[in-house]
Assembly symmetry: C2
Homo-oligomer: 112 residues x 2
DNA sequence: AAAACATATGTTAGTATGTACATATGAATT
DNA sequence: AATTCATATGTACATACTAACATATGTTTT
């Protein structure tokens, strides 16, 4: 009468919650691209918008989220605001995920 | 009159979309735990529910999602359905994220 | 100090996601 | 073959996200 499942370790609740937030934050194409390009180069808000074809307010909103989680920081240069990566470690997750995506695309596509 | 931002590589659209889906799928505490425990041991639906304190239908719904993305597979044993990890690579992303979460929790908490 | 520029923030509407409950399927037991 | 057990699936509601638009803030230029 044993369902098994003893001796199994779980993710701690606080870790789980934090991980969930991080992943939710990353699961957006605009923010993924932003982190990806900001790792390569410091960029102004308008430059980001042009590169990614996004409206100004959309870019700002996304950057606000990334700022809140301290994944990026910014400095003012004249009127412009330049952003750069603040957390190199987050990029590991991004690149790992892109690699995974690449594997999936090469191999087994998951159907409807 | 140059915003800079030349010579910057972007994530390809299809990779981006795939990555987004994967991350969305992972950004859920129940599914994270499921992947985490299924890496340790094959488990039945009811065992998963007991371990994670989740209702049967909730577990099934989540498993259906994981199945759709071929992160888990299942085999029937009598009445029970046993699930196991189908994609070990996905665990790299999970553990990397948990580690990141741990760093965040130790160090800099991100405010409201 | 007014105008123009760059960015940030508030608000709203459409859409997606998660959970709960009800029902269906499919296997084993009697 | 009817009942029970384990799991799956359908549906509805409440919540969360994203993008669009409007407006506000802060800086430079004239």
């Amino acid at each position: 009468m044993n369902n098994l499942g003893d001796n199994i370790s779980l993710i701690e609740k606080r870790h789980l919650k934090e991980a969930e937030q991080i992943l939710k934050l990353l699961s957006n194409p605009a923010r993924l691209q932003m982190l990806y390009i900001l790792e390569q180069q410091e960029l102004s808000v308008s430059a980001i918008g042009e590169l990614l074809n996004l409206e100004q307010s959309v870019v700002s909103h996304h950057l606000a989220i990334l700022r809140k989680f301290q994944l990026v920081n910014n400095k003012r240069v004249g009127k412009a605001m330049f952003y750069r990566l603040d957390d190199p470690h987050i990029l590991d997750i991004v690149t790992e995920t892109i690699e995974h995506a690449d594997h999936v695309l090469r191999g087994k596509p998951h159907g409807k």
